[in-house]
């Protein structure tokens, strides 16, 4: 006896229900009830108060032909497993370069001796920011990481961020440009971006684990790129759409082609916004690379994970400090580059 018996009997479907009945996996609650031995089934006092919502489970009790909720999740899993192999045939070769890029970057960053790497990074900071103070700070922070023997981990994290952020910009900027040019494209892309941005970071990893082997670097590479590409796309689109309409009109009045308009007007004027997007993308890559240590991404995240797993408080805190230092370095350097772009390009004019 179940709450919704009346429904199926009323519809004359009783026979159909029983014919297709399948036992299906048993829930723990059922098992316990059976184990208790006693006939748990009480006489149903059908009061309106006890009427459950007609959920899958409740309907299943009345009509076994209807699937239960746990059949649904199992079906989801099964269908995912079914498409996995054909999907892999397509995705594996496409994403293979990502694995190579990550492996090589990891190798280059960690194998290069510190006394070459350090000046190179400082040079990069100088080129981006033209600030002695910032260069001094970065030098100090990296020296500290070297001093406490976190340098290799930090470089691993850094190399992953370099590769992933670069790819985010490489794909994100063109996508953003396409969005800014077509309202349809924008309408179609925004829900995807919203989903990527709101999906809990751990959830990214679940389907990827099924698709790729945990030993492959592209697994975490894809997770990081998917998570971090959103701001650069959004801000490229926004930046180009915000370009002064008067200037666009002037470009058209002087006969610029679409391509000339894009290269000579829209991208230069949107550059401050695009750079802000790049800054956000780098910061989000850093956030994700820590979580990606769950799926074997090397770097400081591994130490944090160790701190949590083994309750090694000091290890976790120290790695956390390293991550904070990296975050400050990346943020300050990209912001300084952004400020230089701002000074050159977008200054209030009217």
């Amino acid at each position: 006896m179940a709450s919704y018996d009346f429904l199926f009997e009323g519809l004359g479907l009783g026979e159909w229900c029983d014919r297709d009945a399948s036992p299906g996996p048993m829930s723990m609650a059922d098992l316990l009830a059976r184990g208790a031995g006693g006939q748990a089934e009480k006489t149903w006092t059908q009061s309106l108060w006890d009427l459950p919502f007609p959920s899958l489970d409740a309907l299943n009790q009345a009509c076994p032909a209807i699937a239960r909720s746990r059949d649904l999740t199992r079906g989801l899993e099964q269908s995912f497993l079914n498409v996995r192999d054909p999907l892999r045939v397509v995705l594996d070769p496409i994403t293979q370069p990502l694995s190579w890029a990550l492996e090589n970057a990891l190798h280059v960053f960690t194998a290069t001796p510190w006394w070459i790497m350090l000046p190179l990074l400082l040079l990069l900071v100088w080129v981006a920011s033209r600030s002695w103070a910032l260069m001094g700070f970065v030098g100090g922070a990296l020296a500290f990481l070297l001093f406490v023997d976190h340098y290799t981990f930090a470089m691993q994290t850094m190399s992953i961020i370099f590769v992933c952020a670069f790819l985010c910009v490489l794909f994100g900027v063109p996508i953003g440009i396409a969005m800014s040019r077509s309202d349809t494209m924008q309408r179609l892309t925004i829900p995807v971006l919203d989903m990527l941005q709101t999906l809990p970071t751990f959830v990214y990893l679940i389907p990827l684990i099924f698709l790729f082997s945990v030993t492959e670097p592209k697994l975490y590479g894809i997770a990081i790129i998917l998570y971090a590409i959103v701001p650069v796309i959004r801000l490229t689109d926004l930046g180009i759409r915000l370009v002064d309409k008067d200037v666009i009109e002037a470009a058209e009045a002087f006969g610029m082609t679409r391509h000339q308009k894009l290269v000579r007007v829209q991208i230069p004027l949107a550059l401050p916004n695009i750079m802000a997007g790049v800054n956000q993308t780098i910061m989000m890559s850093l956030a994700m690379v820590v979580i990606a240590s769950l799926v074997s991404a090397p770097g400081l995240g591994v130490l944090v994970l160790r701190g949590i797993r083994n309750l090694e408080l000091g290890v976790g805190l120290m790695a956390g400090l390293g991550i904070v230092l990296l975050a400050i370095i990346l943020d300050r350097v990209t912001k300084a580059a952004l400020a230089r772009v701002n000074a050159a390009a977008s200054v209030p004019r009217h």
Partner: protein
């Protein structure tokens, strides 16, 4: 198209809205702007515009905001597509042009100056001035000299390497004009080019434009909401109201014979003595008065003649143009011309009020 291009606009209509062609039928059947908006949710931008813009002249299109003047000028280079009508430039209908020809037209035969300058903020003054030529694909070395020369000519010599934001509004607009001149196009479209500038600088820029025009003889289409500016610059004045041409012609003619209460209202506040010229109020050379007090030029303003006569209304002057005597000017007639007679006689000034827009 040669150096001097004439523009003629014929039966031009522009209706904004989702179904302009359908709305056009209503407009052609005589429906007005307000009714079209209320009944069919379409905005009547321009209605049956017919304007001939002669080569080498400044045509000023004047009207208050919402009169459709900015819409009209954007039809000349097709930044806005018309709903119906023809736009002929040197006898060719530019509405039939494909994308490539239209781009070529914009690149080589037209330049535009904007109200808010619309300079590229990330380029130097020199690069901005050379923009039109760079867009055309000209080599930098070929246009840089021209750009420098025009910047020098508009008074920006030595500022070539600055960025637009480092300049004042007036100087930015000089860059805008230098950009238009460097393009070397025969047609210059000026969309409220001086409206964003303060009055003294505006006067300077108007003088600069007139001076340049004397030597360049370009076909200029100038948009303005300022009657004084319009009268000062115009060879041909077109007055727009609610997307309709209310009157067009020589500015002096419009001033002396306004044909619409709207224009009477408009011109009632201006200093007629400064705008009207001797040639507009003189008697043609038939009937010489008893004696004349001297000679005046046909293009002199009435103000200068009043100053010359020291206010004596009994005098008459010989009117000369290019050395030849062309007529006589009676001071009493001059004084009468200073009063907007038509308005005072039939009381139009009092019976009509300015439109809310």
């Amino acid at each position: 198209m040669d150096r001097n291009a004439s523009i003629s606009i014929r039966h031009l209509y522009k209706i904004f809205g989702p179904q302009p062609q359908k709305a056009l039928e209503h407009v052609r059947a005589g429906m007005g702007k307000t009714e079209l908006m209320a009944r069919h949710r379409h905005v009547l931008g321009l209605r049956d515009i017919n304007v001939e813009m002669k080569a080498g002249e400044i045509t000023v299109i004047m009207g208050l905001s919402g009169s459709g003047k900015s819409t009209l000028i954007r039809h000349v280079n097709r930044l806005i597509e018309p709903t119906a009508g023809e736009i002929m430039i040197d006898g060719e209908n530019i509405l039939a042009f494909g994308e490539t020809r239209l781009r070529d037209l914009r690149r080589r035969h037209m330049s535009m100056v904007f109200q808010h300058f619309a300079l590229l903020p990330h380029k130097t003054v020199l690069d901005n001035a050379g923009m039109a030529r760079a867009v055309r694909g000209d080599d930098r070395s070929t246009y840089e000299r021209d750009a420098r020369a025009w910047l020098e000519r508009v008074g920006l010599g030595g500022q070539e390497d600055q960025y637009p934001h480092q300049l004042s509004g007036g100087m930015q607009q000089r860059v805008g004009i230098a950009r238009a001149l460097t393009s070397n196009a025969p047609i210059m479209l000026m969309d409220e080019a001086f409206s964003a500038l303060d009055p003294l600088i505006r006067t300077d820029m108007q003088d600069l434009l007139l001076e340049l025009q004397q030597e360049l003889q370009k076909t200029i289409v100038f948009i303005s909401h300022d009657l004084d500016e319009a009268l000062k610059l115009a060879d041909h004045l077109v007055i727009l109201k609610d997307g309709i041409v209310v009157q067009q012609g020589e500015p002096q003619e419009i001033l002396l014979n306004p044909n619409d209460p709207y224009i009477v209202d408009f011109i009632s506040d201006i200093n007629r003595a400064r705008v009207l010229r001797v040639r507009s109020v003189m008697d043609a050379a038939t009937d010489p008065p008893a004696q004349t007090a001297g000679k005046v030029d046909a293009d002199a303003t009435l103000e200068s003649v009043i100053a010359l006569s020291a206010g004596d209304t009994t005098l008459s002057y010989e009117v000369h143009r290019a050395g030849a005597q062309v007529g006589y000017l009676n001071m009493q007639k001059l004084v009468r011309a200073l009063v907007p007679t038509q308005a005072s006689q039939n009381g139009m000034r009092n019976s009509t009020r300015r439109d809310p827009d």
